[in-house]
């Protein structure tokens, strides 16, 4: 295992679709880590990706969606490799959904011998990929430091937004609230700096699951970090967040409508505390804090238990 020289940062190459995962990785170097992002998607030129990774001479390679790496590609790569499952999977004891089944099928394409360790963004569904894939730990996707913003005074009326593509489930929740109030719905294509621009202009964010099945979306951490008051469907797992303490939990479309109505019509003092706590709790997702700890743990764990990599 190649480690950085004493006092030098870990060089980390992040691999994945930058479009989606750029906000999950740090952009600037720090005393602990020196990051670089290699944009790559499944089916693209993997040799080119590998050449870019090698050129960076990383100590650690972190791949968002490990299934995008062809089998055996990382053999001989002189770096620790970590695959991060970012997609929800079927859960034991709950009815599955064809979307979840499809995601599991995709994930199972992962070559487990490409990676020293695999981690999942949540622990509840990770066992569905076993025994082919074994997850070392579960960790929500971090949030790039650039997303973090100080709390701004809330607009009157507050500006409300939902970021995410349309599904029947989401539209069922949003239809009334969009008819009655000025709710911005960003369906597609707003990422990177443009997304941060939008984040600076909104006060209240809505989080809805893609379909009926529960999960913990990365969007949750992004909105809290940006200082938004978050209204969300029940989350599972909670990753340490507390409903109605760090975010407002809404349990149905009508409750969402009433909550937005309340925010539009009444003073906001009672919601300000939730916003403050959510922003404070979001510090646990900060990329510049999460990655140094994660990489140190990874190195220690591989040193202790070895690696399945070939």
């Amino acid at each position: 295992m190649r480690r950085p020289e004493p006092g030098r940062p870990w060089r980390i190459a992040f691999v994945g679709q930058e479009h989606y995962f750029g906000v999950c990785s740090p952009r600037k170097p720090s005393r602990a880590i020196d990051p670089a992002f290699v944009d790559h998607r499944g089916g693209a030129d993997a040799e080119l990706m590998l050449a870019r990774v090698r050129a960076y001479r990383p100590h650690v390679v972190i791949v968002f969606r490990p299934e995008i790496v062809p089998p055996g590609l990382f053999a001989g790569l002189d770096a620790l490799t970590l695959g991060w499952n970012t997609e929800p999977l079927p859960r034991a004891g709950l009815p599955s959904h064809r979307d979840l089944d499809w995601r599991l099928t995709e994930l199972l394409e992962t070559d487990p011998f490409n990676f020293d360790r695999l981690i999942s963004f949540e622990p509840v569904s990770a066992p569905s990929a076993e025994p082919r894939l074994r997850f070392w730990r579960s960790l929500p996707l971090p949030v790039a430091d650039e997303v973090y913003a100080p709390l701004r005074p809330m607009g009157r009326p507050p500006r409300v937004a939902f970021v995410g593509y349309s599904t029947a489930h989401r539209e069922r929740w949003l239809i009334e609230v969009k008819h009655r109030f000025d709710v911005l719905h960003l369906v597609h294509g707003v990422t990177g700096d443009r997304l941060l621009d939008v984040f600076r202009r909104i006060d209240v964010a809505i989080n809805l699951h893609v379909h009926e099945y529960p999960q913990f979306e990365n969007r949750v951490a992004l909105h809290l970090a940006a200082g938004h008051l978050l209204l969300s469907e029940p989350l599972s797992p909670l990753h340490g967040l507390e409903p109605d303490v760090d975010f407002i939990e809404v349990r149905g479309p009508k409750q969402l409508e009433w909550t937005v109505e309340g925010l539009m019509l009444r003073p906001l003092a009672n919601r300000h505390a939730v916003r403050v706590r959510g922003r404070r709790k979001a510090e646990q997702f900060r990329a510049s804090r999460v990655y140094p700890r994660l990489v140190a743990d990874l190195a220690a764990d591989v040193a202790t238990f070895g690696s399945p990599r070939r």
């Binding site: 949540e122 960790l139 220690a300 764990d301």
Partner: protein, 365 residues
Amino acid sequence: MRVCFVRTDPAPVELAGALEAAGDVEVVVAERPPEGRFDVAIACDWRACGVVFDVDAARRAALVVTLEHRALDPARPERLPALLALDLPLDFLVTSAWVERALADARPGARAWRVALGRPAPAGPPAPSEDGGPLRVAGAAPDVLAAMEEPAEDVPLPGDGASPAPHVVVALPGAADPFARPVSALAPVLAGFAAGATAVAARLEGRDEVVAPDENGLLVEPDDAPGTARTLDRLARDRALLARLREGAARSAEAWPTWEAAGRELVGVLERVLAAEPPSGAPPEVLMRHALAEAAKLAAYESARADTLLARSQALDERETALEARERALEAHPAARAVVVAQRRWRHPALRPLRAVVGRLRGRS
């Protein structure tokens, strides 16, 4: 000084014992309002916060070791009174920076006084790290222990007569019992440190005020049982790491005040409470806002439960309708009915030997 602790759970109140040991203080611990005049009456949990106003006392306070309404399951109705208890005109004795901040969030302007939890006395000598035996783990949920690959032994938490002492204490958040005495999130960690154990803890509810990662313990994600198990596996495998963390934990325990020191500190705090103006309660509009918000949450949970029941009853209705339709179809076709009746009779328990014979004959063919 005369101080009364009012509790609704008969479990011992360590701070009361510490206060008594500090001297010059008469301490009464009671489940009901005691007779006589007291300088300070202290409620030990949210249910005692109302009772404390029946005590004849110059000042009234609440000992807050955790935010009880937040520790309860969101669907529990007890969350409402547990939250409203924080709106009462009480001085709040808080036991960690996290509790102090959480109280300020729940009720801005509430008067809080920091008091220390004492360091528990070790029950026995610490277990050696390099004894080659299984890792002795206290406080881990069964799913965490089941997910471990290295040998491990489940032992009681220190202070509960634990013998032998654990190597490591696991401190993760869990749903609280609304009728039990509230317990500080720091208590199991401190007890572990005092008994010579390290800790594997979630970075929640102030545990990271005590657990310094890689110095005296390790921090894990709160919902990640497999990850916690793997962290314990690492401690089981890497005994040098375990020994180093336990040494760090022992140093942290040494730096923590003893119960005697905590008692003396509490005397000082109570003297300042007595010297200060009586505390005020939350303004009526705040109290009503809290009540309405909690009631709305309960209503949302209740309506979700009602929706689930309704969906189940609709499914049962549909099943019954389908069965009735089947019955009618059978009545309309006597031949089909005869087949169904024959099948039922064939399944009669008295015909089991015959079915076995037929089964064997079919197997041969």
